[in-house]
């Protein structure tokens, strides 16, 4: 009676294609790696010489930012951090709403980016830039 039947055959894993596998992995990671980590907020500028398009007043909400970094939404003062929730509510009522952002000449860019960020957070797709107020 044979219990342990020892096999004398060579049971090696073929390693000839190992380098192919490694190259496939290497190329896969080369292609999928993205080196740039820089990101930004997207916005589409109005085309040059755009004629005034008539928009019903109820579809526009005015957002003004002064040089001190204070925001005025439809005539009411608002904290910048609260813009997104307010705009979100307004968008629920009227999905055609256009946010018209107006800044002062001396408003800091960082404040403006914070406001645009808030609008992006509220998923406002229609953002309009108004000319800065001249003194």
């Amino acid at each position: 009676m044979l219990i342990g039947k020892k096999k004398e055959k060579d049971v090696e894993i073929p390693s000839a294609s190992l380098s192919d596998i490694v190259f496939l992995l290497l190329i896969f990671f080369l292609v999928t790696t993205s080196i740039d980590t820089e990101k930004g907020l997207d916005l589409v500028l109005p085309p040059p010489g755009a004629s005034d398009i008539k928009i019903p007043k109820k579809n526009i909400t005015n957002l003004l930012i002064n040089e001190a970094g204070e925001a005025l939404l439809d005539g009411e003062k608002i904290e910048i951090s609260r813009i997104s929730s307010t705009i979100k509510d307004k968008l629920l009522e009227n999905e055609l709403l256009i946010v018209s952002v107006k800044t002062d000449d001396n408003t800091e860019y960082s404040t403006y980016v914070r406001v645009i960020d808030q609008l992006k957070k509220a998923d406002a797709k229609r953002i309009s830039l108004a000319e800065p107020e001249k003194d």
Binding site: E38, D42, L45, P47, D104, T107, Y109, S110, V113
Partner: protein, 137 residues
Amino acid sequence: MEFKKKSKINVAIPTASMPDIIFMLLIFFMVATVFKQYAGLKVQLPDAEKIQKIPGSKRHVVTVWANTSEQVVCDDVRLKKLSDLRNVVYQKLLANPQIKIALKIDKADKMGFVSKIHEELRKANALSIYYFALPGG
């Protein structure tokens, strides 16, 4: 009569050194590749939360830097006047109609200056812009 004398010798090309050759090639191309990188200007970017990557290839991105002393650099061109921006961008747009503008503007800049840049880009018909920002906010 026998015509063909079949050789029984294995005539395989030796492939043992193939990885070495490929690594040599790989290292050569790694060393020879130059990443397109512009020096630009030193700016302090603002913070934002809802930032996103610019979709598509980096090839289609034109970067515009603007610092607090109102210097403007577009890719590798240092502009003497802000009004030159429209020409530079317009030429780039003609060469590649699908470019997007990446704006790297210092966070301490004033909006009056930023909207002048907006005006120039509008005149060049480069309308798709990205305000670069750092994650955070």
